[in-house]
């Protein structure tokens, strides 16, 4: 089965391969979900952390209305300590998967893992 390719055929084939590769790259990237954590303070993103790139534990302190300590390790992040009266933030524990959130309401801080879980839109808690 031998045939000659015309220049146009090759161009079309190359184009299709390129689109396929790009799609695959985007698809793989979005589903693999290398977790990025956002720290949102008073409605603004004040910190972006690529959790998989963290090799040594990081601690971030916010001193405002309340003293709040956020800890991040490889692949996960949490409210470690807070001197707020309700402690719901600390009790939420470690976040690691896309879509997970924790909030310190008295301190005005939200931690959110960017991206989406494939079958969970929201977590009831």
């Amino acid at each position: 089965m031998f045939f000659k390719l015309k220049a146009g055929d090759i161009a079309v084939a190359a184009l299709i391969i390129a689109i396929a590769a790009a799609n695959l790259a985007i698809f793989m990237h979005s589903s693999e979900g290398s977790a990025t954590a956002l720290i949102i303070k008073n409605g603004k993103v004040v910190q972006k952390l690529k959790l998989d790139d963290i090799n040594k534990r990081i601690e971030i302190e916010y001193k405002d209305k309340h003293n709040i300590l956020i800890a991040a390790e490889h692949g996960r992040i949490r409210f470690e300590k807070s001197d707020c009266p309700d402690q719901v933030c600390v009790r939420t524990g470690w976040l690691s998967r896309p879509g997970q959130t924790a909030a310190c309401v008295p301190g005005g801080i939200i931690i959110k893992i960017q991206g989406e879980d494939s079958d969970t839109d929201i977590i009831l808690k």
Partner: protein, 360 residues
């Protein structure tokens, strides 16, 4: 050429497949937004809209409405020019207070559902809940000072909790607490009731496909505008909420156009002698009820779901299950103290792990 054509067709199919995996319905994108400052919790909007601007218009409207309802249902703070629930409490035994329709509605609703659900959820329990609230906040500020309130003090407070003495005049739009020392606490219903109001208003404004989550209350409107037929709602594992292990989902429930509300012991609590003292108080014992780790209710109206989840949490299992089964369109999930899960049939069928539900 045939081979190349076949190869191209294959590639093309793959291109389309790869795109379809993440595709939303034509012209719609998924957005999310969360904010703090209303109802002492984080409120999240997740929804499909035709543009970021359209989504932002809807959530701004929703957010403003939540702040407004928060002020009306607030029992701790007063606001310039607004008669709220604190105003009603401040005038207990003094005079009826004229209030907005949203306050009349929540009180009439709560009185009606108090009767319907075994009299366990009482918005007039304010004097008792205020004592528990104070002890919890003090303990969380200084864990070494954690202690239980004195039972005599609680009993004395409970003498001022007769819900029949909460008088609503719907024509004059007034509420009157007939005895001094009485106070309303709408904590068991306000978030769910407000969420239902906001969800309805946004749906009426043209928002077709969204979820509102407000601290244990989820209201799903319509269906997701992608290749799924249902929304996926994650149920948190109460044991993972202690902060010891990574927070994990117990299961995922697939639903459309309904509400799910959880009452649980694992977020608002304090610890005395190693024992968790949570915030859901049984009016008969004046102490936290310990029948479950959590109860989740699924039913269309978010206010009903919120009220019913509190009532179901405060009743022993047989009565709790009988109550839920007597309510048309209500389903429930009980997480027992030992971690065992019990569920009504339709709830189980909607669950991914427990019932093998799929979402296509």
């Amino acid at each position: 050429m045939i081979l190349l054509k076949r190869f191209s067709a294959l590639l093309l199919a793959f291109v389309l497949l790869a795109s379809a995996c993440t595709s939303t319905k034509s012209g719609f994108e998924k957005y999310s937004y969360e904010f703090l400052g209303a109802f002492d919790t984080m409120i999240q909007f997740i929804g499909y809209a035709q543009s970021k601007e359209q989504f932002e218009n809807f959530v701004t409207k929703g957010r403003n409405r939540f702040f407004e309802l928060h002020k009306l249902y607030d029992i701790y703070n007063s606001y310039e020019g607004i008669n709220n629930i604190k105003t009603i409490n401040d005038n207990a035994g003094i005079k009826p207070v004229e209030v907005r329709q949203e306050i009349i509605d929540i009180i009439v609703f709560s009185k009606e559902w108090h009767k319907k659900t075994g009299s366990k959820v009482n918005i007039a329990l304010g004097p008792v809940l205020a004592i528990w609230h104070r002890f919890r906040e003090e303990a969380n500020k200084d864990p070494s000072a954690a202690r239980l309130p004195d039972i005599e003090q609680l009993k004395k407070a409970s003498e001022k909790t007769d819900i029949s003495k909460v008088e609503v005049d719907e024509a004059k739009k007034t509420v009157y607490l007939r005895e001094p020392g009485m106070s309303l606490d709408v904590g068991a219903v306000a978030k769910g009731f407000a969420t239902e109001i906001v969800a309805k208003e946004l749906a009426d404004a043209g928002f077709q496909s969204f979820i509102i989550s407000s601290g244990g209350n989820v209201r799903a409107v319509g269906k997701p505008m992608d290749n799924r037929s249902k929304w996926g709602i994650g149920i948190q594992d109460p044991n993972s909420a202690s902060g010891v292990q990574d927070y994990a989902n117990l299961d995922t429930v697939f639903v459309d156009d309904t509400s799910m509300v959880t009452s649980g012991d694992y977020q608002r609590y304090y610890v005395v002698n190693g024992q968790m003292i949570h915030h859901l108080i049984d009016p008969s014992t004046l102490m936290p009820a310990n029948y479950y780790r959590a109860v989740t209710i699924m039913t269309k109206d978010s206010g009903v779901a919120d009220f019913l989840s509190s009532a179901a949490f405060l009743l022993p299992y047989d009565k709790s299950r009988a109550l839920v089964e007597s309510m048309e369109g209500a389903e429930a999930l009980w997480i027992m103290p030992d971690g065992t899960i019990k569920a009504t049939d339709a709830m189980k069928k909607a669950m991914k792990k427990l019932g093998g539900a799929r979402n296509n």
